[in-house]
Structure formats: C-alpha cells, structure tokens
Amino acid sequence: MPRGGSRETTGEDPRDERGLTDGDLISRVARRDANAFELLYRRFARPVFGLALRRLGDRMRAEDAVQETFAAIWRSARTYRPERGPGAPWLYAVARNAIVDRSRNRSEPPAEAPEAASLEPSPAERAEASYVSWRVHRALEGLSGNERDVIELAYYAELSQSEIADFLGIPLGTVKTRTRAGLSRLADLLEGELQ
C-alpha cells in the first residue's frame, strides 16, 4: 500500500501551528502513535469522504471507504517515505485505492455504451477535479476555526458578509479581516496548486 504510487507534487508539506506536517503525522502513526492517528483523521476525514462521495455517489459506501482508508493508513503507514514527497499525496493514493476497491465490489451491471459523444468530463478531468477538491478541503482543515467558519459561510452557505457577522455575532470588520486572512492562509497552503 498504496498501490499505484503517489501523485507528483512540487509543493512542500505544509506545517500546522505546532510545526507538524501531514508526513510527520504519518510517520508517527507508523510508530503506533494513536494521537497522531486522531489528528490525521481530523485533518483528512472530510477530504476522504468528499473524494469517496464524488467517486461512489453513495453516502453509505463512501462512509465504508473512509473507514477502509483509515484502516489502510494504520496498517501501511510504515510504507510512507518522507523523502519521496509530502504526506497528502500519499494519503490521496491510499484513499483512491480504498475507493477503487469499494467500487469494484459493486454488483451492478455495466452501463450501456453511449451512442453519441458524451459532454461529461473525461475520467482524467474527473480525476483532476477530485484532486483539486481534495487539496482544497484539506487546506480548509488547516485554517483556524475562526477563519474556516467565515470562509465556509461565505463560499458554501452563500451568506453575505453582513449576514455572517449577524450569524456569528461578531463585527462586520472582523468578518472581513478573518475572510482575507483565511484566503491568504489558503493561498499559502495551496501554493502547489496555484502555480
């Protein structure tokens, strides 16, 4: 594990406020550090679940895939080699394999081939979109709670800045400050994707 190797990246493994990278946590998990496993779960549960939902389209099987991913991480963390790259792509490969295994378990008959060229994204395009979502959702977990709240409310709850201020009970200026700080931090964390 993981089969298929890691995705190539150019970025550094970003550190959190305590100086721990994803790779550090995986290495600690390899030494059977349960606290590191929990921190890793907190960072990656939503990105893994999001990836699984995209690929499988079913919450139940996506939840199973999350369980299988973290079981695989616990089993195979020793195979992670920090010198070969950051931790997130390794985790992405583990998750992808768990999801592929889950999708192979489907007993549904194969779909009929379409008669006309499809306008749907190609497999490569879907894979790229999945990876972007993975990286963005992982980066969101790297924000402070205050920053993440305002970003998610603005982008995904479609609240205006004033509505966010009312919702959180904080001044409008604080919302603006946290939003800009959050975007800036996200830009730092996503440096590799921004090139």
């Binding site: 959190d16 406020e17 305590r18 100086g19 721990l20 998990v29 059977r32 349960a34 606290n35 496993f37 929990e38 921190l39 779960y41 907190r42 549960a45 939503r46 990105p47 679940f49 999001g50 939902l53 919450r59 139940m60 939840e63 199973d64 999350v66 369980q67 973290f70 079981a71 616990w74 979109a129 972007v132 979502s133 990286r135 963005v136 959702h137 969101l140 402070s144 709670g145 205050n146 970003i151 998610e152 603005a154 982008y155 995904y156 479609e158 205006s160 800045q161 603006k176 939003t179 800009r180 975007l183 800036s184 996200l186 830009a187 996503l190 994707e193 921004l194």
Partner: protein
C-alpha cells in the same frame, strides 16, 4: 460548482495587485472545489485505530463473515496495542453517546472545543475525549482543568492538561453520576502559576 461570492466584496479593493492575484487564485479554487461534505455522526467521532479496522456499525448491511474477520483483526491489534501501551489503553475504545461543544469565553475568545462522552463502563466511569483548538499556551507552571459544573459553577475536577500548539486531543474519565450536575455542564478553566482555583473559565458549553 457552487455560486461564487463576489471576490471584490470579500477582500475589498485596497489590496496590492500581487496579493490580489494570489487571493483570487485561492478564491477560484474554493469555488471549483465545492463544499466539503458534512460528516455523519459515525464519521465525526474519531475512531480509535483498532476501531478503524471495523466497518461502521450498521449491521443490517454487513455480512457476518466480514464482520467476524474484522473483529478478529481488531482484537489482534488491540491486544498488541495493549501490550505496548499498558493498562490505560484498555479504556481506549469509545463510541461517543453525547457530544458537547464548548466555545471560548472573553478570556480566550479564539478557543473552541468538542467533548465526546462515551458510554459509562460497568463501574460507572465515563470515558471522554476532548478536542480543543486555539487555547493559548500557558506559562511554565500553568495548566488547564476540565470541570463539571453545578448551578453554572465548576465543582468537580475531571482532569488536567497542558497545551503546546493550536490543537490538542486529551482523554479523560469521569467517575461521577452525571445526573447530579448541570446538563452538558463541562467547562475548561485556566490555572496560571500560583493560581489553583477554578476562577478563570476559558471554554464553556455553547448555548443550544
């Protein structure tokens, strides 16, 4: 793709061009990625490593043979962990039966925490896992306490911990009859050096 909020409205127009371009790229990636999914309660509760070997507990959809194999694996790993980490790990398996969210008070408004409460064991011990973020690191000799409250006041101590870094996960056990205390009545107090009274509440339950 989700509808995009107005970028200019979000960041203002006084941002230098280079920084503006950087923020705009992050903005576009956020829009492209779409919202992260909400986790179900089963997934929101961090599994212990040995639990992660088992499928989620939805028996109607599980094949008994698969479950038995997973449990056997889990027991094997649990035994190895137990040998490696001593008796305290025997209480490490926990399925949260209640989750209490705590918010920072004016003493530490950036802090927040979640306290997961497991099912009491046969002896009446309640396992708890505290996930806290944003608590400030205290000076040498300082520490944090987790208290149960009655009438809003911290009355019994459930454990102490220190913080180094933004995020911490700590395991506790309470040996009290919780019905004697406030509902969801947990607070975190800050004990600075020379002060060992629970007078500085830094995290308290969020209003429901």
């Amino acid at each position: 793709m989700t509808p995009a909020p107005d970028f200019d409205n979000l960041v203002g127009k006084e941002v230098p061009d280079e920084e503006r371009a950087r923020l705009l790229r992050a903005h576009r990636l956020l829009v492209e990625a779409g919202p992260p999914p909400e986790l179900s309660p089963e997934l929101d509760s961090v599994p212990w490593p040995e639990e992660s070997q088992m499928p989620l507990l939805k028996p109607k959809q599980r094949r008994p043979l698969l479950l038995a194999a997973a449990i056997a694996t889990a027991l094997g790993i649990g035994f190895v962990l137990g040998q490696a980490t001593g008796p305290s790990s025997n209480s490490s398996s926990m399925q949260a039966v209640r989750v209490v969210k705590l918010a920072g008070t004016e003493l530490d408004s950036d802090a927040r925490a979640t306290l997961e409460l497991g099912k009491a064991d046969a002896s009446g011990n309640w396992p708890m896992i505290l996930h806290a973020r944003g608590l400030e690191q205290l000076p040498e000799g300082g520490y944090y306490d987790l208290y149960l409250t009655k009438g809003g006041k911290p009355v019994v101590l459930c454990g102490t911990f220190n913080v180094k870094g933004d995020e911490i996960i700590v395991h506790f056990s309470a040996a009290y009859d919780l019905s004697h205390f406030d509902k969801d009545g947990w607070v975190i107090t800050r004990q600075r050096p020379q002060n060992h009274e629970p007078t500085e509440v830094v995290l308290k339950p969020t209003p429901v």
